[in-house]
Structure formats: C-alpha cells, structure tokens
C-alpha cells in the first residue's frame, strides 16, 4: 500500500508540476502577446504622434517662411524707391549751381555711398528670399502625396539629359549612360533626384579637364542601385556628410543655388525607403550611389 500511495503522490506531484508548467507557459505566452500588442499599440501611437509633430513643424515652416517674405517685399521695394529718388535728386542737382567742394561731397553721397548701401540691402534681401523660398520648397515636399509606379529609368534619365542639353553643351561635358534597371518610385520626385544630381555635377567641374558624367546601374537584393559619377573637383572627406544638410554650400561665394539640391535629394530618397551614399576624392570626382526598391 505504501508504495501505491507513493506512486499516487508522485503522480499527483507530477500532475501538479506539469499543470504549473503549462500554466506558466500559457501565462508567459499570453504575457508576451499582451506585451507585443501593447508595444504595437504604443508604436502606432508614437508614429502617429511623430507624424502629427512633423506635420506641425512643416506648417510652422510654411507659415513663417511666408510671413517673413512679406516684410522683405517692403525692404526691397522701398530700397528701389530710394534708388529712384536718388536718381531724381541727381538730375535736379545737374541744373543747380553749387560750390565745387560741396558738389563733390553731394556727388559722393549720391553716386557712391547711398547706392552702395542700397546694393547691400538688395543683395541681402535676395539672399534671404532665396533661403525662404528654399524652406517653402522643402515644406511643400513634405505635404506632396507620392504615387509609386514602375519607372523606366532609361527614358527618365534620357529626358533629364535632354532638359540639361544647353548646360551640357555650354560646359562641353560628355555624358555617358549605360543600360539602367527599372525601379519603383514617384516619377516626378525621382526625376527631381536625378535632375539635382546632374545639376550638382554640372556646377562643380574642374577647369583643368573636360568634364564627364556617367550614369550606370545594377540590381542587388531586390534593390536597383544607380551611380552618377563625375570627374569634377570632388568633395573632401570631412564635407561628404555635410553636403546633404539643408542650406549647406561648400563654395558659397561661387555657387548660385540656395544649398538645397542634395537636401531635397536625400529627403525624397528617404520617403522612398531608399538610400544615398557618396564616394569622392578631391581633384578626381564624385560618385553618388542611389538605392531604390527594384521593380
């Protein structure tokens, strides 16, 4: 009997142990599911919050850049009006007899000092306007809905080359395009990406040799990777990451844009869940690699 009792006890203990084990396993599973669900929910809430903040930020950029332009219209407009008034004053003084020394003093004001001051005002306004226009452009980019479709990149790049025909001829640049794989993207925005890369390459050619731009592409792990290569002045390693920042210009005195081209490129590619990287060597040229979802 004793041994039977022992067996019974062992059975009961084992059954309880197995029961506890199963209960524990079920508890762990349920807990994990709840946690997963909660973290899914939290993630959803967080990304909704992030999207709302992003939207708000874009709205602020949009409104402030618009409101800041309004006073600029006055600064620029009335500077020009002052310019007209000075021209008027100068022509009145033509017919007035004044002492030679006084005349020289007046002329110095009317012909040099005031026009110089006005020129600085105008140039600064134009600079500020272009920065604000850039901000507006970026904020528009955030609000545009993208339409993803299969893109024939051979025809897209050829169209860009045609659009840049004048600048390419003017700069005496040789352009080479290899067969390119298709990708998935928004036609207008991807056109903008490669137009900006072309524009950039055309801006920074070396005066010492004939410029070339090569566009090539290949597929790797469901990605279409494109390379825009130039033999321009190149970008120093310490500047390679900075070129994608908003309003960053490597040569602010010689370049004409507002320092937005590559910032826009990087933003569009982000929206396409792609990536961009740069290889460059001073004096040799640059290679921009654009990675987009393959078609």
């Amino acid at each position: 009997m004793d041994s039977q009792f022992q067996i019974q006890i062992i059975w009961i203990v084992s059954a309880v142990a197995v029961g506890i084990f199963f209960a524990w396993a079920v508890y762990l599973l349920v807990y994990a599911r709840i946690k997963e669900r909660r973290s899914d929910k939290e993630r959803e809430q967080l990304s909704a919050k992030l999207a709302a903040k992003n939207n708000e930020l874009e709205q602020i950029i949009h409104i402030t850049s618009h409101d800041l332009r309004s006073p600029l219209v006055n600064i620029q407009g009335f500077s020009k009006e002052l310019g007209y008034s000075i021209e008027g004053l100068a022509s009145i003084l033509e017919g007035v007899e004044v002492r030679e020394s006084t005349n020289l003093q007046i002329r110095a004001f009317l012909e040099n000092e005031i026009p110089e001051a006005l020129q600085y005002i105008s140039a600064s306004v134009a600079k500020m306007d272009s920065l604000l226009a850039g901000l507006l452009k970026l904020s528009h980019l955030g609000t545009v809905v993208i339409e993803i479709e299969k893109l024939d990149m051979n025809s897209l790049i050829n169209n860009i080359v045609r659009a840049f025909e004048y600048q390419i001829k003017d700069a005496g640049v040789e352009v080479g395009i290899s067969e390119l794989p298709a990708c998935m993207g928004d036609k207008t925005q991807i056109n903008q990406v490669f137009s900006n890369l072309f524009d950039n390459a055309l801006k920074y050619f070396s005066p010492n040799r004939r410029g070339t731009i090569e566009v090539s592409g290949f597929m790797e792990d469901e990605k279409s990777i494109y390379c825009v290569e130039d033999n321009g002045i190149g970008i120093a390693p310490e500047n390679q990451e900075k070129v994608f920042r908003i309003f960053h210009q490597l040569n602010p005195d010689t370049s004409t844009g507002e320092g937005l081209g590559l910032a826009i490129v990087s933003r569009i590619i982000d929206k396409h869940h792609g990536s961009i990287r740069l290889e460059s060597e001073i004096g040799k040229g640059s290679r921009f690699f654009v990675e987009l979802p393959a078609a």
Partner: protein
C-alpha cells in the same frame, strides 16, 4: 453718357505693400482713383454697403486688388462672398499675394478670381506684373456694379 472711370480698390493689410502697388500703378501711367482698405471687413462693408464707412456706388466700374493673408476675414473669404453675390460677381478680382502655394492659387481660381499675381520680392518682376495689370485695366471693359439689375 460718359463712360465712368474704373475705380481701383486695394484690400491690403500691409500699408507698405499698398503704397508700393500705388507707386507702381502711377509709374505705369494709371491715374484712376484708388481706394485702400486695410482688412477684409472694411472691404466687404464697402462692397455690401454695411457699416458707417464709404460705400460703393452703382454705375461705377470697380476692380479689386485683393491680398489673401489679412487678419480677420482673409482674402479667400472676401473673394468667396463677392463671387457668391449676384450684384458683385462680375467685378474683376485680382489676387495680389506673397504666396505661390499651388493649393491657394487653385482655390482662388476655383472661387472665380480673374487673375493671380505673386508679389515677388524681386522688385523688377513686381513692377512688371503691376505694369501688366495697368495694361489689362486699359484694354478691358470693366462691368459696373448695377443695383437696378438686382431688383
């Protein structure tokens, strides 16, 4: 009956902008009477003959240069009320504004604005835009506001 001269109404909260528009219209040879309103309310009071200020008169052709961003009633709302009114809807309305936001431009056109000018910071383009406006005013027959038609 002598053709009555067009009266130019400018609805613009920024006095500086209104002055610049004025000066450029003058420079473009426009000598018409110009009335300036500093906000949307005053513009609507004048056109809908409300409140104590001056009111529009029947038989006189008006053209309205309308800024969009004004405190209180904005330009879009002013445009909406004008184009929704039988008596006023034929009056040409030209939006003159700093925004080149395509959505705002589209909304203005949908509401029935006759022309849209972006106030460029670049003064030369602003000047040429206003000069074109001057030419437009010289060649276009502006319908006058006719109270009798309504009755």
């Amino acid at each position: 009956m002598l053709k009555k001269e067009v009266v130019i109404l400018i609805a613009e909260d920024d006095v500086g902008h209104a002055t610049l528009i004025n000066k450029n219209l003058e420079r473009a040879g426009i000598t018409n009477t110009i009335i300036h309103f500093r906000n949307g309310e005053k513009t609507l009071d004048f056109l809908f003959k409300k409140g104590e200020g001056p009111h529009c008169e029947s038989g006189i052709p008006y053209v309205l240069l309308l800024d969009i961003r004004m405190p209180g009633i904005d330009g879009i709302e002013v445009l909406r009320q004008i184009k929704g009114d039988e008596r006023l809807k034929k009056m040409p309305v030209i939006m003159i504004t700093t925004t080149d936001d395509p959505r705002v431009i589209e909304e203005s056109h949908n509401l029935g604005c006759n022309h849209y000018i972006v106030k460029p910071v670049d003064y030369e383009s602003f000047f040429s835009a206003v000069r074109q406006l001057g030419l437009f005013l010289q060649v276009v027959e502006i319908p006058h506001i006719d109270d009798e038609k309504k009755q």
